[in-house]
C-alpha cells in the first residue's frame, strides 16, 4: 500500500472520452475522466453551476460539457470555461503501470 495513492482499478475500465465514478465518504462522488489521448483526470462529480453529474457529460479534448446546462468545465483546472464562472475541486489522479491511482486523502476523507 502506498501512503499517498489509492489503486482503484485498471485504466481500461475507463472508456476513452468517457468517465466513471467513485463514491466517497459523505455521499459525494469523484468523477474520473479519460481523454482521447489516454490522459486521466479527476474532479468532484458536481458541476459548479447546478451540481450536474459531470461524469455523464460529453468529454472532448481536456474539457467536459455538463449534461444539465452545457457548461464546459476544464478537466485540468476544474474551472468553468467561456462566459461561465465557477470551479469544481480537482482530485489528484495518475496512471501507474496501467492502474488508476487516486489521491488517498481525497478519496478517503471525502471531498468537501
Amino acid at each position: 500500500m502506498n501512503a499517498e495513492w489509492l489503486d482503484i482499478g485498471p485504466v481500461d475500465q475507463l472508456p476513452a472520452l468517457g468517465a466513471r465514478t467513485l463514491p466517497v465518504q459523505g455521499g459525494e462522488e469523484i468523477a474520473i475522466f479519460r481523454t482521447a489521448n489516454g490522459s486521466v483526470y479527476a474532479l468532484v462529480n458536481k458541476c459548479p453551476h447546478k451540481h450536474g453529474p459531470l461524469s455523464q457529460g460529453i468529454v472532448h479534448d481536456t474539457t467536459v460539457t455538463c449534461p444539465l446546462h452545457n457548461w464546459r468545465i476544464s478537466l485540468i483546472t476544474g474551472e468553468a470555461l467561456g462566459e461561465d464562472e465557477g470551479c469544481v475541486p480537482v482530485i489528484p489522479v495518475k496512471i501507474d503501470g496501467g492502474r488508476i491511482l487516486i489521491g488517498r486523502a481525497a478519496a478517503l476523507a471525502g471531498v468537501m
Binding site: 475507463l14 476513452a16 466513471r20 465514478t21 457529460g57 449534461p67
Partner: protein, 822 residues
Amino acid sequence: MMSNKPHLIVIGNGMAGCRAVEEILARDGDTFRISIFGAEPRVNYNRIMLSPLLAGEKSFEDIIINGHDWYQDNQIDLVSGDPVVAVDRANKTITAASGRVEHYDKLLIATGSDPFIIPVPGHKLPGVITFRDMDDVGAMLEAANRGGDAVVIGGGLLGLEAAHGLSLRGMKVTVIHLMPTLMERQLDEAAGWLLKSALESRGQTILTGADTAEIYGDGKVEGVRLKDGRDIPATIVVMAVGIRPNTKLAKETGLAVGRGIQVDDDMVTSDADILAVGECVEHDGNVYGLVAPLWDMCRSLAAGLVAEPNGYRGSVTSTKLKVAGLDVFSAGDFSGGEGCEDIVLRDATRGVYKRVIVKDDRLVGAVLYGDTADGNWYFDLLKKEEDVSSIRDALIFGQAFASGGGLSANPIEAVAGMADDAEVCGCNGVTKGQVMACIGGGATSLDAVRAGCKASASCGSCTGLVENILAFAMGDDYAGERENKPMCKCTSFTHEDVRKAIIDKELKVIPQVMQALSWSTPDGCSSCRPALNYYLLCAWPGEHEEDPQSRFVNERMHANIQKDGTYSVVPRMWGGVTTPNELRAIADAADKYNARMVKVTGGQRLDLFGIKKEDLPSIWADLNAAGMVSGHAYGKALRTVKTCVGSEWCRFGTQDSTGLGIKLEHMTWGSWMPHKFKIAVSGCPRNCAEATIKDFGVICVDSGYELLIGGNGGIHLRGTDLLCKVSTEQEAMDYCAAFIQLYREEARYLDRTAPWVERVGLDYVKQRIVEDATGREALRSRFLYAQSFLQIDPWAERAAGKEAHLHQHIAEIRPFAVVGGH
C-alpha cells in the same frame, strides 16, 4: 462597327486577364469596348481550384469565376478556343488562329505561364501530361478511371496536389522529387518532413533526392527509371516540375522580353499601347508564379489605364495552402543566417509545427504546418515590418495570445483591429477595406459579399472572417448566416456540407469525418459529436457502430436525467393504450425502486421519477418482464403516438384512430431522428389527440385521412400544415414513413420538423412526398430498411448486461470508517 469607343483586346482568358478587366470595369465601365481572346474553349475559371476539381471536391461550375452572363452584362466579346497567333504593331491588329483579324487601340497580354517539361528521354510518350488546365485534369481523370500506377514528377505544390487528387481517385501514386525535402521553396526541412510523413501515411510513395533518368514505354508510358537504377511502373506520368512565363507571342511581336515580358510600374511593355500582366511578366527583375501578386498587378494596371496611376511596387509573397488537405503556410525568408532568431513551436499530438524568424526585432519569415490560422497575421507583420519586440515572447502562440487574449474572446474586436489593407481572402486577393466597401455598397449577407467582391468565394477558408467583418460593419443589423452556418466551432462546413461529404467520401466513423473534413479540434465538441453520430447512423444504417461517448447523457443512459442526477423512466404504451397487467408492473416497479413521483405525461404514458443510475438495468428488466419496452422518452427519436378513442367508442369517431396510432407506433418506434418526433391521430376534426401541433398528425374524416406536418407545441407554437389527404390507412402509413425519412435525411441535427418545414417550404415537402410517387416509395423503403436495424429494445440489451459499466461505479471504498481510520 459596334461602337466608337477605343477597343481593348485582351489576349488570355485566364485569371490575370479577366481580373484586369474586372479592375478596369470597377473604375470606369465606359472607356473601352473590350474583347477577350482565350485559347481554352470555355469561360474564365479559377486555375488554383483545379486541384479540388481533380480531387472531386468541386465541379467545373464551382470554379467558374465569370460565367457567360458576366461577359454579356459587361458587353465583352469573348472569343474562346481561338488563340491569338500574331500581333501587327504597326497596324495595331491581331490575328487569331482562325484567321480572324481585329484592330486594337490598347492590347493587354495575359498569356500566363507554361508548364516546364524536363526533356528526359520519353517525355513525349502518350501518357505524359502536365497539370495546368481543364484538359490536363480531364486527361488525369481518364487515366484514374482506368486505375493503376501513377508517377508524379515534382514535389512542389502542383505535383503534390496532382498526387493527392490521383490518390483520392484510386491510383497508386509515387512522387519523384529531385530535392531532399518536399516544397523546399515554401517549407523548411522540418515542415517538409512532416508533410512527407503525412502523405506517406495516406498511402503515397514519396521519393526525395530522386532524379529521373528516363520515361520508358512502347508507344505509351509504362514507367519511369531513376538515375540510381530504380524502376517505377506507371500508366501515367504527371510532369509538375515548374512553370515558366509564356512569352512566345511577345517575343515574336518584338517586345522587350527577359525572363518574362518586361513591364513598367503601370504594367506597360516596351510598346506604349501594349500592356502585360500576370505570370507572363517580369517586373523589376522579378517573375511571380503565385496568385496574390497578380491581384496587385491588375490593380496597378487598371489604375494606370483609366484612373490615377498608383505604380506597382512588386509583391512580397506568402503561400497559404491546403496541400492534400493539410494546412501549410509560408512567407518571407526562412533560410536563417546571421542575426536571425528562430522561435519554434511543435505540438506532436496535433501535428502542428510553427516557426517564425525574427531579425532586428522584425518578423522576416514564417513557416506554419498543421495550423495556419495565424498566417495572415504573421504576413501582415512581415509586410509592414512592424517592431515585434514587445510581443516577441507571445509571438509564436499567435495573434489572439500575443494581443493579450482579448481577441480570441471577441472575434469582432479582432476584426476591428485589422488594417484596411490586411488581406482577408487569399484566393481572390481581397482586403478588409474592400470587403468593408462592398458591405457599405449594400452587400448585407455572405452571399452578397461573395458576389460583390469575391471574398470567400473560392476555397471558403476565410468565411468565418468575412462573417465577422459583416457583423463588425453592420452591428445588430447583421442577421447572421443562419442558412449557411458552420456546424459548430470545430469546422467551417455546414451541416449540409458534412452530410454530403459523409455520403460522397463514404465516411463511416466520427474520427474519419473529422480527419477528412479537417476538424479544427482533436475530438470535436458536445455539439458536433452527437450530430455526426446521427448523420453516420442515418447514412449507413446497416453498418453504423454506435459511439456511446457521442450521445447526450439521456440517449447514452436510455433514461431522462433530472436536476438531481437521478433518472426518469417511461415505458412505451402503444397508442396510449395500457392494460391492468402493465399498470400493476409499473406500480410494483415504482414501489421497488422508490420512484418519488409517478406522472402522467402529455404523450399518454406514465413517467417514473427519481430512479438511480445503478437501478436502471433492473427496473428495465422488471418492465420488460411485463412486456414493456423503452418509450424513448429521452431520445431524439420517435416519442409517442397520441390517439383518441376513435370509431371504436366515440359517437363522433369516423375511423379507428387508436388502431391506426398503434400501427404507426409499431412502424416508427426506435427510429433515431434529428430531434424528437411526435405523432398523433385524431378520430374526427374535433381533434382530441391534438394532432395539429405534432410533427406528423392524422385527422380522420369520413372520406379518409388528412395528413398534417410540421406542428409544434413548444416554445414557438406552430400549427401543422396540411400535406395532403389520403383515403386508406395503408397510404397514411406510407406517407408517414416517407415523410419521416425525408426529415431524417435532410433536416439538420436538432432541427424539429417545424423550423425545417419552414426553411425548405411546404411546397418542397409536397413535391417530394405527394407529387413524386417513385421518390416517396424510395424514401419509405429506406425508412423501413433503417428500421430493421433500429427496432431493438435498448432496455432489454442493457438489462442483459450490455454497457454495464455505464451503470456501475468504477470502485467502492468500504467501509469508509474503518479504512479512513487507519
